[in-house]
Subunit: 365 residues, 4 copies
Amino acid sequence: MKAIIVKPPNAGVQITDVNEKEVDNYGKVKIRTLYNGICGTDREIVNGKLTLSTLPKGKNFLVLGHEAIGVVEEPCCGFSQGELVMPVNRRGCGVCRNCLVGRPDFCETGGFGEAGIHNMDGFMREEWYDDPKYLVRIPKALEDIGILAQPLADIEKSIEEIFEVQKRIPVWTCEDGTLNCRKALIVGTGPIGILFTLLFRTYGLEVWMANRREPTEVEQTVLEETHTNYFNSANGYEKLKDSAGKFDVIIDATGADAGLLTNVLPLLARNGILGLFGFSVSGSASMDFKALQEIVHANKVLIGLVNGQKPHFQQAVIHLASWKTLYPKTAKNLITRTISIENEREVLKVLKEKEHGEIKIRIIW
Amino acid sequence: MKAIIVKPPNAGVQITDVNEKEVDNYGKVKIRTLYNGICGTDREIVNGKLTLSTLPKGKNFLVLGHEAIGVVEEPCCGFSQGELVMPVNRRGCGVCRNCLVGRPDFCETGGFGEAGIHNMDGFMREEWYDDPKYLVRIPKALEDIGILAQPLADIEKSIEEIFEVQKRIPVWTCEDGTLNCRKALIVGTGPIGILFTLLFRTYGLEVWMANRREPTEVEQTVLEETHTNYFNSANGYEKLKDSAGKFDVIIDATGADAGLLTNVLPLLARNGILGLFGFSVSGSASMDFKALQEIVHANKVLIGLVNGQKPHFQQAVIHLASWKTLYPKTAKNLITRTISIENEREVLKVLKEKEHGEIKIRIIW
Amino acid sequence: MKAIIVKPPNAGVQITDVNEKEVDNYGKVKIRTLYNGICGTDREIVNGKLTLSTLPKGKNFLVLGHEAIGVVEEPCCGFSQGELVMPVNRRGCGVCRNCLVGRPDFCETGGFGEAGIHNMDGFMREEWYDDPKYLVRIPKALEDIGILAQPLADIEKSIEEIFEVQKRIPVWTCEDGTLNCRKALIVGTGPIGILFTLLFRTYGLEVWMANRREPTEVEQTVLEETHTNYFNSANGYEKLKDSAGKFDVIIDATGADAGLLTNVLPLLARNGILGLFGFSVSGSASMDFKALQEIVHANKVLIGLVNGQKPHFQQAVIHLASWKTLYPKTAKNLITRTISIENEREVLKVLKEKEHGEIKIRIIW
Amino acid sequence: MKAIIVKPPNAGVQITDVNEKEVDNYGKVKIRTLYNGICGTDREIVNGKLTLSTLPKGKNFLVLGHEAIGVVEEPCCGFSQGELVMPVNRRGCGVCRNCLVGRPDFCETGGFGEAGIHNMDGFMREEWYDDPKYLVRIPKALEDIGILAQPLADIEKSIEEIFEVQKRIPVWTCEDGTLNCRKALIVGTGPIGILFTLLFRTYGLEVWMANRREPTEVEQTVLEETHTNYFNSANGYEKLKDSAGKFDVIIDATGADAGLLTNVLPLLARNGILGLFGFSVSGSASMDFKALQEIVHANKVLIGLVNGQKPHFQQAVIHLASWKTLYPKTAKNLITRTISIENEREVLKVLKEKEHGEIKIRIIW
């Protein structure tokens, strides 16, 4: 069986034949892979930079891939032949109470596995077997953009958690009972930044996206179709405060320098929440005693946001379906390229580095 | 200005010219009516049967209509010319804390108004002026089925409240973190029953619809497209328990005889919740001491469900948008007829009685 | 070992010697019984009226008793010799998610056991062995009234659940952020009614107690010390509505005729909740269609309330401790009699029938 | 009328006569002051170091004092003559939704006042008039330690908010449904640290207190009576991790150097929450990119905690009452000194600097 394999902690990636008996399978539902999505985490593994990536126990390679859509090959366990399914990528430790209730995003032991990343083979291979518990149905009508349900699930969980945390405030809703008066700032305009923007807009918040440059043409389309504001932060964030005021929610979706936190914290409004999504790769955030005083005085929260689970995948499917109606141009723009697995050279190339203008690249099997 | 007027508590309905100065307006945004939806409540008023329907203070007629889509005529207050909007129909008492936070669905004083029903003129008229606070944007792509956002808002609120109430249970989610293992029984297959079905399916529950007959062709389409079960209750509910077991949620969406409650209560599972939606018009529910014991033993809840507010209208828009993608046949079937306001004879006819096969009828202006 | 045993479903009770190997034990902590409380459920078992009472599997008798305080005999498992402990009486099915997270009060399978009642031997015996997981520490300073922590735990859970359910309302708190403007009606003035009263007062609600007679002297003390109102319902509830208005919370703590529900439902305010606690033993509640309409119109809830678990026992300990300071006369009055296990005739007598003026009777070992 | 006045931003404090017409009053209930508590904030104002302290509008002095117990002088507005009351110190902006529902702790405008600190005269004076809305009843049985209800209210709100935030986690409770398996670290052993300890113990968490020295004798009593652990952090926190593991909750109650945050963050467990209470007065907290990664990976939260409101004062009363029973030695030790207002020299002295061994000092009028 053809598969894309890596050997963390070493850099490198291969498309090769693997023995079906040598790779992990997780259940009885036989699934033939249709699409894989590629994300930054895949590239970090390929480039030997993701220290938390580990081989499955007792093996010397790891099948890459945590974003996948497959087709059920044989009727089994409540699934019909031909149904499209997406696997949930993080799977529980089997011990802690959060994992026992299907929520390894809050695993307490750290003993979870992550397909294609950590301790478990992923889905960049011709086929795999899985447990219905970890399979999410993808409607045929979403075959085109459904691969986004995986990254979007992480955003769904993040925003759900933010809303849960804000229930600490007696009244966080607006005078009309909605969230329309709340303002969110999304720093970073990659796929994660765009998905945060789309989902906060869906929940009714006013949104600003920020990056250290003018928006691209595709970003411009998103901004217009979703009535989102944009801020070029090349010269710092001072002017944003002047024009937009402070923000009820700020998301750092850059995965860049930790110092960003220091810069955007002064933009956080009373009772506000600042979410960290993705992993800073350099630098240091500094908060002097006055910044801490302000956090206390004004009931502010900083929170780490990570990993969506099956309920979030299912919400992601609903939201993607709604966006095809509400934001059709944006929906079309999100998949910037589809490459056949036969085109090995290109597949390996995009696994190593990001393309110009890329939002989401799919491999088709 | 042409308007459809009624004179509760008297039966009767007229299409007539009204003086613009004699009808209620609510703000500065000028809106020209595009569509009105007709629902059972309108017919109860027309037939003189809705005792709670009252004239606006000091007036001798009431403009009918609480389901409407209009187009903004002049840019104002954050709205652009040409935008489609839907008015929120229930408006607060201005006094209690729930109304002050935009949630007159939980008004404590009972001093709220309901456009076209109670104390406030409705929207079956050429145009009206409104306050942005009560206007919900309807995307152009939803012009076809958007009128359903009003009844769906009531369902959105109902299911939100049910989920809130079930948070009393430490773990109500399934082993995979979703609600896929939870079963809902919807009694009644009118527009309300169908919207409950669609929304519970969207949230992942397994659903049974029930009525005292075989499903119609349209209902059959809904059942197939949404993977919903059906039960013919003509011979009672005993057999349903045998085939489907007990239900975590039961909704009485019949607005029929109160005695239904007595019949379906034994189908409620441990920790279950039985929601009453709409208003029984006859009969009596009886619960003997053993039925009450069972409610206590097994943590059961009975709850009255009523009225969605602006946040629920906005959720309804998102869900309608998703259903166009996920359930396209069903979405198409929901509007069973559109009648021009010029066709006065037919408009008056459908205002008096329900059509065979009707789900939702629209008037177009 | 001396024990009080019953043989459900047969009536009868004996104080007798049992072989230590023939009775259930649950763990490693050796506990010598100090006190048992007697409650109505014990008497129903003794009188052969509690159909749900069953023998432990494979046995021909059941050790009675679900209210107990014991002393740890030997240091074990985090407990010191001499510590006072109370066992949690309901224990989980071991299968469902609620039982796995320590909350068999919401058991989904019904497979739980209840010590001294259903499938498990109770604690009216000289000593037993238990699992730390099911043991609640009772401070020495509460030795006098600590036995009330068991029944109070049920009330703690009930009020906690009521507060959880009322979170469905955007703002249920008063203009000063408290619950001081909320009114509760407690029907029934037995130990359960009194504990509900004390706990609702502790949470700041205004409380009315009701019974079909004038208050006793002890009740009068409770009313005065806790600033609680009283209503004699011998002539119906009409006059209560006139004097006190409607209630945000109503508790049926009578365990009497189901028809009470019909009578008190009209007293429930908008957004109100009516809790059923204990088990009606006769009659039938009737709600005609207008009563159901009112439930819907005004967002009302009926809820069954049952069984507190370990977190509720711990809250009960805190509240009992506070009442010794805040309501010292009431606290003293709650234990109306303590009978030595040596006085077998009296023990058997109070196990068969309620004493005049009884609130809580203890057996001392 | 005698009063203790200050003139922020200038240092200094005087006991002097003030004209009753020149000081702020807030309602109709006439209250004669019995006790005032002194806290660190008072001393910061007296020493001219609290920049946020401001004079009431149009005045040239501020009556100090935000901790007070008074006696109602004349029956009024639901209060009887002779009742003890405590005023709520922070009062709403009158504009935002949180203030409208009695929760100025989450004021969105920042337009609130704080008696004795900011924009409003305080309660270190012979008498004042107040609004029932802002008065909390203090039972006679709590006259001795009731003054602690004000600082404790802040802790009540803080822990309530922490528990609200942790509801983001599907299951945060332990296998027995309690919080007994959760561990809290309280850094700082002043009155705030002690009150945090007592309240977390009351809620069942295992607690460690930490300070850069061995515990005092009084602290030793608290530790023993409440079964709390202690850690001497003079040599850093490394050894604490070795002996106690990581903490689910960490509270910085030092009000000292911001750098503490950097030191204790590595002690925070998965899904943990770190609360900042009080105001750092120097230094800077630094979090490098790896610390931020860990916050994201492990769902961690940092939160600012401030100000309790009337519901929290009422909870504080209940908890103080319970501690008199549960922790009698600790309760007795909390008020370390009571000074008569006649003893002006000593009053002024303790307003300027903290006494050795002080927990809470009261002025008696």
